[in-house]
Amino acid sequence: MAKAKREIPEINAGSMADIAFLLLIFFLVTTTMDKDKGIIRNMPQKLENNVQDVIVKQRNILNVMANNDDLLLVRNEYVEVEDIYDLAREFYEMNKGGVEKDGNFPMWNFYDLNTVKQRIAEFEAQLKESPENKFVEKELENWKDREEIILNVPDIRAKGGYYEISKFATISLSNQIQTSYGLYFQVQDQLQRAIDDMRNEISKELFDGQIFTEVDAKDDRAKTEEDLLLIKTVKQLVPQRIAEAKIKN
């Protein structure tokens, strides 16, 4: 005999909206809409023992100073914050491509495969003599990166090498105690924008129009081999060396 059809009573969903409202209001109250953004900086490691001062030629330093009255001094001339972008680009690009236009700006050196290999051999020999030397280790790593770039980036391989700004070229920032953070931040922002723009131009040129800042912003796990090569190359060609002096009274 056929079973009697039994009606399943409908579930009352009338309070579903109440529950959803409750959750909605919870999220409205506890969350914020604005994204967290900022300029990321890596501070240098604290040195255990006092290291000897290294004397660097004036031409290799872009000195940016902000004083207690929020006035900016770049290479001993008063400037506005907005000028820093152009000054930073000028500092990097004056002698670009090895053409010595102005002796007051950092030199660009040409690295070809032979020089690089020679240097690697030299530093490997040095490392054997003093295995714990951090400086030699770092230099060796640096030269190996250059070798990798010459071998793997098609445009650079075709030319047999590339030009790189002097490894001493540094932007030096100094502040006084009463300098406002607002000004300090704007200086950092202008420098970052100058470096980002130069890096993007280089990566567009060498890597089929890819944009460095976009590739770099990818999640670490999503980066491919090519992405890593791009990042390494661009960072080597446009290094970001910003040194901060100890604060003055």
């Binding site: 969903a13 914020t32 900022g38 300029i39 890596n42 922002d189 924008r193 999640d219």
Partner: protein
């Protein structure tokens, strides 16, 4: 009386609200996706600067690899710039190091990978800011972030 009036009681038919939960859920999901959790209630007043080349650190925040500290003038009066570490206000830069070490203990990653995002009011003086930075440097928390808003027009 009127020809057209029909007999019997006639109530207004109830509005069908069965789609209401759907609408509310839709809103709920929108807010869940588009917003992030507030870190902490603010005890200091902060107007962070605007920058044109800022990086998004939201993904780091979701991985719990960012700690936030705030520097500005206290909301309930006072002219002195103060540092807010979670729920606590202080003027001593040494407590920043202590706070950071405590924060890192609960995380799996090494201290040098965890970003310290500093939300600092534009008017704060660099003396205090560099004190905080030195304090972080002492404990090897080297990755910092100067929090900023994206400038709309360059």
């Amino acid at each position: 009386m009127s020809k057209f009036r029909k007999g019997g009681k006639k109530g207004v038919p109830g509005v069908n609200t069965s789609a209401l939960p759907d609408i509310v859920f839709m809103l709920l999901f929108f807010f869940m996706v588009a917003t992030t959790m507030k870190e902490v209630d603010m005890l200091v007043e902060i107007e962070i600067p605007e920058g044109s080349s800022v990086t998004d650190i939201t993904s780091l925040k979701q991985l719990n690899e960012v700690d936030f500290l705030y520097i500005g003038k206290p909301i309930d009066g006072g002219n002195r710039d103060m540092i807010q570490l979670d729920g606590e206000l202080t003027v001593s830069v040494l407590s920043v190091a202590r706070w950071k070490l405590e924060k890192v203990q609960s995380k799996e990653r090494d201290i040098q990978y965890i970003v310290t995002s500093m939300k600092i009011d534009e008017g704060v003086k660099m003396g205090l800011v560099s004190g905080v930075k030195e304090s972080l440097r002492d404990i090897n928390a080297l990755k910092i972030c100067y929090a900023a808003k994206q400038r709309i027009n360059n």
